[in-house]
């Protein structure tokens, strides 16, 4: 039976099941019917809110469509893509996004690993440490971003005061560093917890045996722990990379994209809500989607990351 009937769940699936699978027992048919009925609402919502708008965004990206000039809406083919891809703003935003993603994910991975080891090895107040480290994960990004913004405001913030009243948010590179710090602070706990789950799968006996055989701590880490944790690390990296590529909240609060610190998401937002240009805004959105798809494919095919969740259906 084709998987596409799942979309038209409910009655259609029922009929199809009746028509084509007469050999199925009553119980198996009831099971299949229930399966479709249970999935139908979730599928319908996801299709309506995500699948349809994506198709619509593709359509919008082929139009000249500015909300301020409604009478000039016109099908223009791929010319919006040409306009965006030949615009320095797009490449600037892409560069900023890639810089932020690479640095924040790389540093988060190292710090997350350290955090995971602290959480794994700690003997004292493990609950307290874990609870505390969950706060950055849970805190509203915007709330934390205001904290960082004020902390780096000269004459007002403790961090600015600690660095000779510097004003890093007014300078391209320093602002990027502040944005990356804010990202790292917010996302390290999540990384740490994912890695902790992977770390707890490493058999303690194996580490002890290696110690007896004379392996030092670094050798045990690189030769035993890391290889065994590879699947967990790759999944955590995939999650974090895709998440970081979408960065919006921190930049919106910290710099509003000034001094060329806007990410691709900020660029798309500006084109939509400041320039009211639905055509260009949609084009940027589709390009971001393509970038994210490339990252995901690279991870899954290139590094052999098991797509999270693939084990569900297989078992």
């Amino acid at each position: 039976m084709s998987t596409s009937t799942q979309v038209a769940a409910g009655t259609a699936a029922e009929q199809a099941a009746k028509k084509r699978k007469p050999q199925l027992s009553e119980g198996a048919r009831a099971e299949r019917r229930l399966g479709y009925l249970l999935c139908a609402p979730a599928v319908i919502v996801m299709l309506a809110v995500v699948a349809y708008p994506v198709v619509y965004a593709v359509w919008l990206s082929l139009q000249r469509y500015n909300l301020e000039l409604p009478q000039q809406v016109k099908f223009v083919g791929l010319s919006n893509y040409g306009a965006v891809l030949s615009s320095p703003y797009w490449w600037q935003a892409l560069e900023v996004t890639v810089i932020i993603t690479v640095f924040s994910v790389a540093i988060t991975l190292v710090l997350g690993m350290l955090l995971a080891m602290v959480l794994h090895r700690t003997l004292f107040a493990r609950g307290t440490v874990r609870t505390t480290s969950l706060i950055p994960y849970g805190i509203v990004t915007v709330a934390a971003a205001y904290g960082w913004q004020y902390a780096w405001t000269p004459g007002q913030g403790y961090l600015s005061a600690a660095f000779n009243d510097s004003a890093p948010l007014t300078n391209h590179f320093e602002a990027l560093i502040v944005i990356i710090i804010a990202e790292i602070w917010k996302t390290t706990p999540f990384m740490g917890l994912l890695l902790l789950a992977g770390l707890s799968l490493v058999p303690e006996d194996l580490l002890k045996a290696a110690k007896v055989d004379g392996a030092n701590a670094w050798q045990r880490f690189t030769k035993i722990t890391l290889p065994l944790m590879k699947p967990a690390i790759l999944v955590a990296l995939l999650f974090r990379t895709l998440d970081s590529f979408r960065i919006f909240d921190n930049i919106f609060i910290l710099t509003q994209g000034s001094n060329n610190t806007g990410s691709v998401s900020i660029l798309a937002y500006d084109n939509l809500f400041n320039a009211l240009n639905l055509g260009i805004g949609s084009t940027i959105s589709i390009l971001i989607f393509i970038c994210v798809a490339i990252i995901a494919v690279l991870f899954i095919k290139g590094f052999g990351t098991a797509a999270p969740g693939t084990s569900f259906g297989g078992r």
Binding site: L38, V45, L134, F248
Partner: protein
């Protein structure tokens, strides 16, 4: 778990590491707390401890419709979205974990795709659609997309939890004459409750945290949520210096998170890591 750290020196090392972790996690939060208690005069002073303390920032925002209304919106929209997505997600997750039917992997693939989807790519088309349908700047205008983005998280987390449930009980119920639906409601749902609570917390935190959709699909305090409303404090004439009120608002919207984390620390960790390291 691991009882390797045995020598006193190692103990001291790990304990120091603990304090470093706690300090790094808390200092930015304490800074917000400190700002929220600073008087307008003390705000222009970079010291970490307020020179003069005031409750004024809190009484200011908690009596202003510019904050109270968005706070109510945040709570209402968050709760409604959470309840609906957890109910729909548990139905789907049950089917995924338990039932044999074609198209299962397609559903999982779709959920995964949506979970990783760049939100901004949906803002443009949804903005246009919501304006056409009259959903722009309404509660449903935010609730519907929140449900859609809560679903993948919910389906994902819940199917991991549901696979751990002892399913012999379901069979026993069926032997006793229960239909699959009755088996779901009477036997499995109570067993699944812990996983559902965990999922509900994660989905609620995601809705509570959202900023992009909240600023894109709202235009007044009729539906603007708290994170989106803070930005508008700046232009408001009733606050001379918005730093204090914004910090107070940031602290207020952080309180539910601290409460969740304190009470459900184990569940949140279990939920976050479920499925991610299996298979």
């Amino acid at each position: 778990m691991a009882a390797v750290a045995s020598t006193p020196r190692q103990k001291v090392g790990w304990t120091t590491a603990n304090f470093v972790v706690i300090a790094l996690a808390l200092i930015p939060v304490l800074w917000l707390l400190s700002l929220s208690f600073k008087t307008p005069a003390a705000v222009i002073d970079p010291s970490f401890i307020p020179a003069s303390w005031t409750w004024g920032n809190y009484s200011g925002i908690l009596t202003s419709a510019q904050f109270i209304r968005p706070l109510i919106n945040s709570i209402g929209i968050g709760l409604i979205s959470t309840v609906i997505s957890v109910v729909l997600a548990s139905m789907a997750a049950y089917a995924i974990a338990r039932l044999r039917f074609p198209g299962k992997s397609l559903l999982i693939g779709m959920a995964l795709l949506i979970a990783m989807f760049p939100l901004i790519a949906l803002v443009t088309p949804l903005f246009t659609i919501e304006r056409a349908l009259g959903l722009f700047n309404t509660w449903p205008g935010l609730i519907i997309p929140y449900i859609a983005f809560g679903l993948p998280l919910g389906i994902y987390t819940l199917s991991a939890f549901f696979r751990e449930i002892p399913w012999e009980l379901e069979k026993a119920a069926k032997v006793d004459g229960a239909t699959p639906f009755q088996a779901f409601v009477r036997v499995i749902a109570p067993l699944a409750a812990p996983g559902m609570v965990t999922t509900a917390i994660l989905v609620f935190l995601a809705c509570w945290n959202d900023f992009l959709l909240a600023i894109s699909f709202t235009s007044t305090i009729a539906s603007r949520t708290a994170p989106a409303a803070m930005e508008y404090f700046s232009g408001s004439s009733q606050f001379t210096v918005p730093t204090g009120p914004i910090a107070a608002a940031a602290v207020v919207i952080t309180i539910p998170i601290i409460v969740f984390v304190l009470f459900f620390q184990r569940r949140i960790v279990a939920g976050l890591t479920s499925g991610a390291v299996k298979g």
